[in-house]
């Protein structure tokens, strides 16, 4: 599974990355988490950061961040 965290590098985006790592660990799945900071790449998916892309599909965008349970659900729906 491929997970992308979209964000130019603000505090909320870092938080999103941490949450994604925690979710992957707790779900015990094999996933690669990639941090995407390039604005051109981000804009292919959304204009509200931070964004979460799972296997090429935008699953979440904007603030506030989803909770850890909601996040696990979002990731699992693509597993």
């Amino acid at each position: 599974m491929e997970i992308k965290v979209l964000g130019p590098g603000c505090a909320t985006c870092h938080k999103m990355e941490e949450l994604a790592q925690q979710a992957v660990k707790e779900l015990n799945i094999d996933a690669k988490i990639e941090k995407v900071g390039d604005i051109r790449e981000i804009m292919k998916y959304t204009m509200s950061t931070p964004g979460l892309v799972v296997n090429g599909k935008l699953k979440h965008s904007g603030k506030p961040l989803p909770g850890i349970d909601k996040l696990k659900e979002l990731i699992e729906s693509e597993a």
Partner: protein, 315 residues
């Protein structure tokens, strides 16, 4: 009721002298903290519910290909309710411009969104009363409309970084959410914001209480009073590094007003705190070439100074 509680704690429980410096400062601190947190929780929650109805994608759709003036008015009003933070300024700017929102209209949005925000309004309402909060909101919207129109008239499209025009933005579907989810969003937003803001609010009110109890009046009147012609200008410059910290600065300013700081100077200072910031300028450099960036902050800065002198003259 809050007043009685503050009186009870300071004068009955702690047995402090009502006329003394410490008692006065502590009473002020307890009363203001309670009032502000009560207001913040209710208003921020209400605004978050409204916001859930205006995701940036929807705002962009409403504004695309809008005419000058009507577009600027709508952008400034939508700026109040669309969630915005400086780290999403760049993607938002590209998204707007790319989908046909005129440049001047985009700037109206970029000015009003950080300036007229619910935290600043709540703090002004709680500490200065609803009239000042309303004056701030209306002036902010008018400033956003007029600055946007001026920037639009200057035809500075060529000073937007070239790659912006070449980008193709994904047309994200506006996700329909149930009302229950909007409430959940609002609750999440409110608690997240309060968690982030409370240290600033408490620190700000603390310093304010200190000023209230200890700083001599003639000192403030001399430097920030109506008769100092440079006060507005200095206030705007001082506001720049205090980016978006309305929560922490308003209580201090309120205490200074009690000591004679002029109201127009206060409004100009608050607008500078919320609307002009160096980090935002650095971020916007990614999409704007220097002449447009300088024009943008120049026009907003001049507008704020005018607001300051205007209200010093009439309030």
């Amino acid at each position: 009721m809050l007043k009685q509680f503050a009186d009870y704690v300071t004068y009955t429980l702690l047995k402090l002298e009502p006329a003394g410096h410490i008692g006065d400062a502590l009473n002020f601190f307890i009363y203001d903290t309670l009032k502000i947190f009560l207001l913040l929780t209710t208003i921020v929650f209400a605004v978050a519910v409204i916001r859930a109805h205006f995701p940036p994608e929807k705002t962009r759709k409403i504004l695309s290909h809008k005419k000058v003036f009507i577009g600027n008015v709508m952008a400034s009003l939508l700026g109040i309710v669309t969630p915005f933070c400086s780290c999403s300024a760049v993607p938002l700017f590209i998204g707007f411009v790319e989908s046909g929102v005129p440049l001047g209209v985009t700037f109206s949005f970029l000015i009003s969104s950080p300036m007229v925000n619910e935290v600043a309004l709540v703090m002004l309402w709680g500490l200065f009363g609803w009239k000042i909060a309303l004056i701030y909101a209306v002036t902010g919207v008018v400033l956003a409309i007029s600055s946007g129109i001026v920037i639009g008239r200057l035809r500075m499209e060529r000073y937007v970084q070239d790659y912006v025009w070449e980008m193709k933005v994904a047309d994200t579907d506006i996700v329909k959410t149930a009302f229950r989810e909007k409430i959940a969003y609002a609750r999440g937003y409110t608690s997240e914001l309060l968690r982030k803001l409370w240290p600033y609010v408490v620190a700000g009110i603390g310093v304010g209480a200190f000023v209230h109890g200890y700083v001599p009046t003639d000192f403030v009147v001399r430097y920030a009073g109506r008769d100092n012609p440079f006060a507005v200008f200095a206030a705007v410059l001082m506001g720049i590094p205090l980016y978006s910290n309305a929560a922490g600065t308003i209580p201090i300013v309120q205490a200074l007003v009690g000591k004679g700081m002029a109201m127009g100077t206060v409004l100009a200072f608050m607008m500078s705190v919320t609307a002009i910031s160096l980090p935002e300028a650095v971020i916007l450099k990614n999409v704007l070439k220097t002449p447009l960036l300088v024009t943008f902050f120049g026009i907003v800065g001049i507008g704020i100074v005018i607001v300051g002198y205007l209200f010093n003259a009439i309030l």
